[in-house]
Symmetry: C2
Subunit: 229 residues, 2 copies
C-alpha cells in the first residue's frame, strides 16, 4: 500500500471539450452515454486516469478511443472537484479543451459502438454530470484566449482564406468584425504567409490562400511577443 497516504482517494478522471467549426457554427463533440448514471444523456468524452500516464496523455487517449481524434490542439482547462458531482462516488475531473480541424478530421463516431455527434454551442442538449458547467468554462476560456494567442488557426485547414479566418473569430467571439480592420490587424502580426494559391471550385472570384507561420511565431513568443487580434 501507499507510503504517502493510506486513506480513501477520490477517483481521478479527465474530460474534454472538443471544439470544431463547420459551415454553420462553432460546435462541441458529445458522446451519448450507454450506462447509468445518466444513461442516454449526452456527455463529454472522458474517462479515468491510469497510473502510468500523465493527465495530458489520458486526455489524448480518451479522445482517440472515444472519438477517433488524434493530433489536436489540447490545453488544460480546470479541475472540478465538487463532492457530489458524480452520484456514484467522489470523482475529481481534470478537464481539457481541444480544437480540431473539422475539415480535415471528419471525426468518426466512436470506435466502439457509442454514438458521437456535434452540437452547436448555443443549441446543446441537457448534459450528464456537471458537464454544462465545464462547457461554459471552456467557451469562456476559448473566447479569452483566441484574442491573444494564435489558436484560431487550429480550427482551420493548413491553408485558409482570410474570410475563413475572420469567420473563426466571429463564431468564437459571437459577434461580427469589420473586414478591412480585421485584415489590417492580421497583416500587422506579420505571421501570415501569402501563398501562390487560390481557392478552388468556388462560384465567384477565388480568394488567396494563406498559412500561419508557426516557426516564426515560436521564436517571437520566446522573446515575449504577444499575438493579438
Amino acid at each position: 500500500m501507499s507510503v504517502t497516504y493510506r486513506y480513501p482517494r477520490p477517483a481521478l478522471a479527465v474530460d474534454c471539450v472538443v471544439f470544431g467549426l463547420d459551415e454553420e457554427d462553432l460546435k462541441v463533440l458529445l458522446i451519448r452515454r450507454g450506462v447509468d448514471p445518466f444513461a442516454g444523456r449526452w456527455a463529454l468524452p472522458g474517462g479515468f486516469v491510469r497510473l502510468e500516464e500523465t493527465l495530458d496523455e489520458a486526455a489524448r487517449r480518451e479522445l482517440r478511443e472515444e472519438a477517433g481524434i488524434e493530433k489536436v490542439y489540447l490545453e488544460q482547462l480546470y479541475t472540478f472537484g465538487a463532492v457530489d458531482r458524480d452520484p456514484r462516488e467522489r470523482v475529481v475531473s481534470v478537464t481539457y479543451y481541444a480544437l480540431v480541424k473539422l475539415s480535415e478530421h471528419r471525426v468518426r463516431a466512436a470506435t466502439d459502438a457509442r454514438e458521437a455527434a456535434w452540437f452547436a454551442i448555443d443549441d446543446l442538449p441537457k448534459l450528464a454530470f456537471d458537464h454544462e458547467t465545464i462547457v461554459d468554462k471552456a467557451i469562456t476560456r476559448l473566447r479569452g484566449k483566441v484574442r491573444y494567442a494564435p489558436i484560431g488557426f487550429e480550427l482551420l485547414p493548413k491553408k485558409f482564406t482570410l474570410t475563413q479566418l475572420q469567420r473563426v473569430y466571429e463564431k468564437v467571439l459571437g459577434y461580427e468584425l469589420d473586414k478591412r480592420n480585421f485584415r489590417k490587424k492580421v497583416a500587422a502580426t506579420g505571421l501570415l504567409v501569402e501563398l501562390d494559391e487560390v481557392e478552388q471550385d468556388v462560384a465567384h472570384r477565388a480568394a488567396r490562400l494563406y498559412t500561419f507561420d508557426e516557426k516564426t511565431y515560436r521564436k517571437l513568443e520566446k522573446e515575449g511577443f504577444l499575438f493579438e487580434i
Copy 2:
C-alpha cells in the same frame, strides 16, 4: 469498493503558492519539509485531498493548518500530473495561488512545529518536487491576471495610498510605471473611493487613503465590465 473504477488511483493533493508583498519585495510562503523525500528542503504548503471536501476547501484547510492563513484570495492555478513528480508513488497535484495582506496577517509560522518563511520571488531556494515549476506558473498567471482583474488590492490593507497601489503593480509586473499615468488609469476605473483620511506617522506629507469599491465592481463585472490597468 468503488462502482466507478476498480483500478489503482493516483493520490490527489493540493499545493498553494501564497504571495505576499512586504516593504521590499513580492514574496512566496514556503514550508520546510521535516520528512523524506526532500527532508529539509523548502516546499509549497499543501497536502492530500479528503473525500468529504472540495478542492478549494482542501486548499484553504492546508493554508490554515500549515500557515495559519485564513480568508485569502484563492484561485485554482493548474493541475500537475507528471508520472514521476513524487518519487514515492503517483501523486497528482491541483495547485492554487493565494494573495494575502501581509500587513494585516503577519502569518505565523505553521501551527505545528514546522518552519515557515517568506522568500522573495527572485531569490528562492531550491524547492522540493516540481514546486519550482508551480511557482513559475503562478508568477506568470499573477502577472497576466493583475492587468485585467482587480486582484492587486488583495495584497494591500483595506485602506491604502496610491503609491502603495502602484508599488503592488510594479513589484508584480517587474517594471516601473509612470506615476501620473498610473493615477489617471486607476481614477478612470471609477472604482477607488477617496477617503477622508491620510496616512499616519510618516516623516513627510501624508498621503490620502483610498479603498476599493468592491460592491460596485461586482455589479459592473456582471455587465461585462473589464477592470484594466
